[in-house]
Symmetry: C2
Subunit: 191 residues, 2 copies
DNA sequence: CCATCCTTTCAGTAGTTACTGAAAGGATAC
DNA sequence: GTATCCTTTCAGTAACTACTGAAAGGATGG
C-alpha cells in the first residue's frame, strides 16, 4: 500500500510541485540556522520566495505548521529586514506578504545589514584598542615591551583584514545583478 | 576609593594592555554569536590571536573564567577547524595552543568550510528540485502550469546566485593575503 | 455602536545549547 | 609497579531561544 501511495503522489503534478518546494524550503531553513537566522524565519522566507506569489498569514501557518503568533512575529521580522514586503489585495481585509524577487537585491540588503552590525563594530573596537596601547599613552617604560609589540602587530593585521573585507562588501552592496556578474568576470580574468 | 583604583589601573601599562586585549576579546565573542560560533569559542580564539603567544589550558581558563571542561572542548573544536594549533614546549608536560597569525589564511579556511557546508548543499537541493519539476517528468498536463512556471523561474534565479557566489568564494579560498589585496584593487578599479 | 475579521502581543512552556565539575583516562617519571 | 601531572569525557544543570495559544487590540462594515 505504501508503494501505491508513493506512486500516486509521484504522478500527481500538483503534489510533485509542492514536494519540490518543500524540499527547497527545508534546506533553506537548515541553512538559516547556521547563520544567525532561526529556522522558521528562513522557512517563511523560502516559502514566499519559491511560490512567487503573495500569501496571507493563514497560508503560511498552514503550509509550515506553525502557530499564529510565530507566523506574525517572524513575518514582521522579515519585513523589518526588508526582504519580504506587505501587500494588500483590493476588497480583501487580509494582509498578504511576498518575497523580493531579485535574489541579488536581497543579498545586497543582507550584506549591508551585516556589514553595519558586524564589521563596523569590530573595526571600531580595534581602533579603540590601538589607541589604548599606542606609544604616547603607554610610554616606553613598560616592562612587557614585547607583549605590547605583539599585540600591536596583531591588531594591525586584523584591522587591515577588516578594512579590505569592508571594501569588498561595499562593492556588493548597491550593485545588484548586472554589477555583480561583472565583478565575477573581472575576478575570473584577474586570476 | 573607586576613583583611585581606576586611576591606578589606567596608568599601569601592563594592566592597560590587558584591558585593551579584553576589549578585543569581548567584541570578538559577541560577533561570533551572530555567526554560528558560540561565545566561548570565539573568545578563546580572540585571546590566542591577540596575545600572539602559545597559552596552555589553565591560562585560558583563568583569563576567560571558564571551566576546564569547556576550555578543553572548545580548544579541540578550534583545532578541528584548523584556526588554532596544538604545540609542545620542550621539557613541559602541558600542551599549548596558538592561533594562526595570518588573518587571511584563517579567513580562507573558514570560507572553504562554509562553502562546503552551506553553499554546496543548497546548490544540490536546487538542482534536485529542478529535476523534480522539469518538463519531461511533470508533463504539460498540469492544471497549475503557471505555478510551475513561477517556481521554475525562482529556482533558476537562486541557482545563478549561488553559482556566482560560489565562484567568488573560490577566488578567496586559496588566495591568501597577496591574492586578496589584488582582488580588492581589481574591484576598485572596475567600479 | 456592535459585530466581524484580522493582527499583534505576551506569559508560560517546550526545546535547545552551553557550561560546569567531578571522575575517568592516559602519559611520563621514578 | 605507584605517583604525579595533565587531558578528556560526560551526566547533570543552568541559561537561553523559539514557539504556542489565548487574550487584547485595532480596523472595517453594516
Amino acid at each position: 500500500m505504501s508503494r501505491m501511495t508513493t506512486a500516486a503522489t509521484a504522478v500527481d503534478p500538483a503534489q510533485r510541485l509542492r514536494t519540490a518546494q518543500d524540499l527547497f524550503i527545508g534546506r533553506w531553513g537548515e541553512m538559516g540556522q547556521t547563520w544567525g537566522i532561526n529556522r522558521t524565519m528562513a522557512e517563511i522566507h523560502a516559502l514566499l520566495y519559491i511560490v512567487a506569489q503573495p500569501l496571507c498569514t493563514d497560508d503560511v501557518m498552514e503550509r509550515l505548521h506553525i502557530s499564529r503568533g510565530n507566523a506574525s512575529m517572524s513575518l514582521r521580522a522579515l519585513c523589518d529586514w526588508g526582504i519580504i514586503r506587505r501587500m494588500h489585495k483590493r476588497g480583501d481585509r487580509k494582509e498578504f506578504f511576498e518575497s523580493l524577487s531579485d535574489v541579488w537585491e536581497m543579498f545586497s540588503i543582507i550584506a549591508a545589514e551585516r556589514k553595519r552590525r558586524e564589521m563596523d563594530p569590530v573595526l571600531e573596537t580595534i581602533k579603540q584598542c590601538q589607541r589604548m596601547i599606542d606609544e604616547k599613552s603607554l610610554g616606553k617604560q613598560a616592562a612587557n615591551q614585547l607583549d605590547v609589540q605583539l599585540t600591536r602587530q596583531r591588531l594591525m593585521g586584523m584591522e587591515e583584514f577588516v578594512e579590505v573585507t569592508n571594501k569588498i562588501f561595499q562593492q556588493f552592496i548597491g550593485n545588484a545583478k548586472s554589477g555583480l556578474t561583472r565583478v565575477v568576470k573581472v575576478l575570473l580574468k584577474a586570476f
